[in-house]
Symmetry: C2
Subunit: 354 residues, 2 copies
């Protein structure tokens, strides 16, 4: 059975503004010093397991030129453009229906396009176990991340008994408060929900038909039209009608017979500017500096420079991001609030900077 | 007797880098929101007391185009270019000798070009008292500033008995430590040394002849050649030979019969980027923002924007200065260290940014 991968690349990545913009979001940025973008890394690390002709990218139609440019080896027909944003459930149904038309059945990996993995060999061997379980008939498999600290910004997976390579999922839980997160960690029975899934096309389609029949029907119509002259108009009319829903809420929290594999492969969701110091090398004072930068008595300062000299004097715990038209200076404990500037810009109709 | 003013405008103002540059120092910048530069304000506030034809600007020869441009009403002959930097004593001797050639005797105000005065009417009335005392035969008069806090970055003037409008100076003292500065304040007998002086040309020349005879002789030769074809070559050869010396050390600390007038006219030496929040209006969270700026949850942040949007998120107690080719982010308790970046730039031969 073929192994296919669906990479979800429709996100906007507002938390990496001003480097990420609505027309050039995070997954198309390089946040590491090797120059590779997030989506390029995502595809590259999969290639030991998945043939490039079986890698599908689902993205907003506005981003298809970026995908083609950054991933020239991926067949053009594998770039699936969403006419509008409808969260992960319609995205996955669309891709599943398209793949379903090509192969009788196949294994489908569903992966975010904007995460980093430090230990790629462990990652591949973890995925291989998940693929084997899916092939062996496990309904839905999700890759959980063994938590290393009580993060309150992620959902968690509560798992139960071990079944071969996988564990039974007891339940998915929403972002906890700190006390709850600590209890999750000490129990040893919780994983972070990373948004990575492995299943057979036939399995996930069955779950769509059970829990999201409207989306199942629409996706089938999209799949049937794929490769025909009607495709664009069918896609547009069906996709518009989809409600916006996550796969977690739409299926994972409702289905039974779900399994998880704990992953310990140096996963990072690169969720805010704070990630830059985690995923790159810092100096002895925990500064990270990229570009034309001069420092004097700075500590724990992250600088992503642009074309000009950035001089930091005596700074502590701040992030400086310089671009041609915007400069951001952000306290490290306010990285989630970068979105507030985007809100202000939208209110003032300054969409060219968003 | 004519009242003349000599404005010393040869300084480099490194602490206002990157807005101030070696080819465009602080006195030629506007740091207030009215758009007037420091030197323009310095001249304008004098005009109730001094005729514009009697205002002299002593500056580095590299800055004479800037002086002409910013002060088009000052006669060109009143712009006295120093061939090299030799501190305040040679600067004042040069100006005194030139004025001495024009007038038989005159009162001479000596003033920095890069300070701000909040209450200009009080300033003028203070200067008038000093002028009267100088005319009445007081040897040397200096304007002291009534201290409002125990600043350790200024020299102090210890004064004694009141003599009419002025007080006898007992001694000039160097920058004190905090404990000493506090004792100065509580004694009520100390003023800040502001570098503003008032005397007759004849008085200051006599003091030069007594305490700095070499500079006196050279200045006389410069004054004699003023207005002749030889002037440039005489100025150059004499000025080169001068040692670098401050008027404070060269004369004020040695002469007797010195007086001071306590000034309380909202003086600010605009000594570092910290001054910007003092001399401008701030918002309710003590932020100062100039230019295209967006704030979210920022406090006590000073932003001097440039051509781009500056977004500050969650910042506290920092200064952000944006220019076309350099961005500075500086902690408020490191404003004196901006010079260290200039040092680094010079070491790396990046003089275009200095």
């Amino acid at each position: 059975m073929k192994i296919t991968a669906v990479i979800m690349a429709g996100g906007r990545g507002e938390r990496f503004w001003p480097k990420s913009r609505s027309d050039h979001p995070k997954q198309f940025l390089s946040l590491t010093q090797d120059g590779e973008t997030m989506i390029q890394k995502t595809v590259k690390r999969l290639l030991p397991l998945v043939d490039k002709d079986d890698v599908y990218i689902v993205t907003n139609s506005a981003y298809t030129p970026l995908v083609r440019q950054q991933l020239p080896d991926i067949p053009e027909n594998n770039i699936l453009a969403e006419p509008c944003a409808r969260n992960t459930a319609p995205c996955i149904a669309y891709a599943a229906a398209v793949i379903n038309k090509k192969y009788d059945d196949a294994v489908m990996l569903v992966l975010p396009s904007d995460h980093l993995i430090k230990y790629e060999d462990i990652y591949i061997s973890t995925l291989k176990k998940a693929v084997k379980s899916a092939k062996d008939g496990k309904n839905l498999v999700t890759i959980g991340i063994t938590p290393t600290y009580p993060e309150t910004g992620y959902g968690y997976i509560n798992f139960g008994e071990e079944k071969g390579d996988v564990f039974e999922v007891k339940k998915f839980v929403e972002k906890p408060d700190l006390k709850t997160a600590k209890s999750y960690l000490s129990s040893g029975k919780y994983l972070w929900n990373s948004g990575m899934f492995v299943w057979k096309i036939s399995s996930v389609m069955k779950n769509f038909s059970l829990f999201m029949p409207d989306i199942y029907d629409g996706a089938l119509r999209i799949g049937e039209s794929f490769g025909t002259d009607n495709f664009s108009s069918v896609l547009e009319s069906e996709f518009e009608k989809f409600r916006s829903e996550s796969i977690d809420f739409g299926i994972m929290e409702k289905a039974s017979d779900i399994y998880t594999i704990p992953g310990s492969f140096g996963w990072d969701d690169v969720g805010s500017w704070l990630a830059v110091e985690r995923i790159n090398e810092t100096d002895e004072f925990k500064n990270f500096a990229e570009g034309d930068v001069m420092l004097y008595d700075t500590k724990r300062t992250t600088i992503c420079g642009g074309k000009r000299l950035v001089a930091a004097v005596g700074t502590r715990d701040i992030i400086i991001v310089d671009t041609d038209d915007v400069l951001l200076v952000c306290s490290k404990n306010h990285t989630q609030d970068v979105k507030q500037i985007i809100t202000q810009l939208k209110e003032k109709n300054r969409n060219n900077l968003v």
